[in-house]
């Protein structure tokens, strides 16, 4: 009797576990034909991905920053009409309006504030499988992943900024920013072109420098200290949670 109970218990637990594994993940499309998930595969510098514990397929966020890049996957229901998990399989995500967002493949770049429909279309067809609306919100301020960064000469450290709305709420997306070295140009270098998400700050020689991110109308400064003294692991100040670095260098109101 005890074994029978144990067997039933194990079976129920297994079913529950299986249910969890096959449970609908992401957001169901408006038409109910499939589910949309936020793709964090290349999510470094996207605080929404960090907040979701590095999950590659979290649900769609409430707000996505204008000027940010992000990726969305679509998974159609299985033959039984149930939601499935997994990434896109030959589906493109198309923004309803290029005025709201530009899209290519499953990557989208938000262009202006408003609701935008993301339409899932199977590659090579003109029909729409399903769609979902996302909201783009103007960036009011940005917070660096860490206000101070330590890096060894000859090595590099990842740095990014977290976009926030006018209420100070963190928003999803890898924000597109132009980075520059405003002091200590001989100490560090940064990529010159606009970058979405994290960048690598390269330490060149001992000293201190200030790196500035300009993201639309807002800016954020990061103080970088370069030291040639090996500490075994290199600087790690920039690898912390993006929300941990609250800085007084938040930018002003965006347009």
């Amino acid at each position: 009797m005890g074994w029978r109970r144990l067997t039933w218990g194990a079976a129920l637990a297994g079913s529950a576990l299986l249910g969890a594994c096959t449970n609908e993940q992401g957001e169901k499309g408006v038409l109910g034909n499939g589910s949309f998930t936020y793709d964090c595969t290349n999510g470094q510098g996207d605080s929404y991905c960090s907040q979701n514990g590095g999950s590659e397929m979290p649900s769609l966020p409430n707000e996505i920053a204008v000027g940010a890049a992000f990726a969305v996957d679509y998974q159609p229901n299985d033959s039984a009409g149930n939601g499935t998990t997994g990434g896109a399989t030959g589906y493109d995500i198309t923004s309803a309006s290029m005025q709201l967002a530009l899209s290519m493949g499953n990557t989208v770049v938000a262009q202006r504030a408003g609701y935008d429909a993301l339409l899932a279309t199977h590659a090579g067809t003109s029909t729409v499988d399903d769609f979902v609306h996302v909201e783009f919100v103007d960036v009011a301020s940005v917070t660096p992943s860490s206000p101070t960064v330590q890096v060894q000469a000859g090595s590099s450290q990842a740095v990014w900024v977290e976009p926030k709305d006018s209420f100070g709420t963190s928003m999803a997306g890898r924000l597109g920013c132009t980075w520059s070295v405003t002091s200590g140009q001989a100490v560090v270098s940064v990529p010159s072109a606009q970058q979405f998400g994290a960048i690598q700050v390269n330490g060149m020689q001992d000293g201190a420098a200030t790196v500035q991110a300009t993201c639309g109308q807002v800016t954020a400064d990061v103080t970088v200290t370069v030291s040639g003294v090996a500490d075994g692991g290199g600087g790690d100040a920039g690898t912390g949670d993006a929300t941990s670095g609250d800085s007084s260098s938040d930018g002003g109101a965006g347009g």
Binding site: V30, A96, M98, L100, G114, Y115, D116, T121, T127, D129
Partner: protein
């Protein structure tokens, strides 16, 4: 004139006068998140970026008696693809999605066997600046 010819002409006249498209409408419009956009059989107002799914219906006149609802051979077009886009839902013969591409005015044209059953005027406007 031969009575048979007269009869045939009369039948053709009656048939052409009593058959054809009676009316069309749409139903099953999906919800929108912006509390502004809407689409009905009479008109539509949609913010740029918003998509709405719907199901069109067309009724044709029977030969001098009643109407019949048609569920296939219905096509939906837009009068201006710079303003409105429309596409069929995968695997659904009679379900469509329309989305607003840019501000302007366009018509959503519903056809049955190539004949226009209805033309819905739609106005597209940009989201308000916050």
């Amino acid at each position: 004139m031969d009575k048979r010819i007269v009869g045939l002409i009369a039948a053709i006249l009656v048939t052409s006068a009593c058959s054809g498209i009676d009316h069309g409408d749409i139903e099953g419009t999906t919800d929108v998140p912006d509390n502004y956009s809407s689409l009905s059989s009479a008109s539509g107002q949609i913010r740029t970026g918003i998509a709405i799914s719907f199901t069109p219906h067309v009724w044709t006149r029977n030969t001098c008696g009643g109407t019949s609802e048609q569920s296939s051979n219905i096509a939906v077009q837009t009068s201006d693809a710079q303003v409105l886009h429309v596409a069929q839902v995968t695997g659904q013969d009679n379900q469509f999605v329309v989305w607003a591409v840019a501000p302007g005015s366009a018509h959503l044209i519903i056809q049955y066997q190539g004949d226009t059953a209805m033309s819905i005027p739609v106005t597209v406007t940009d989201p308000p600046l916050k």
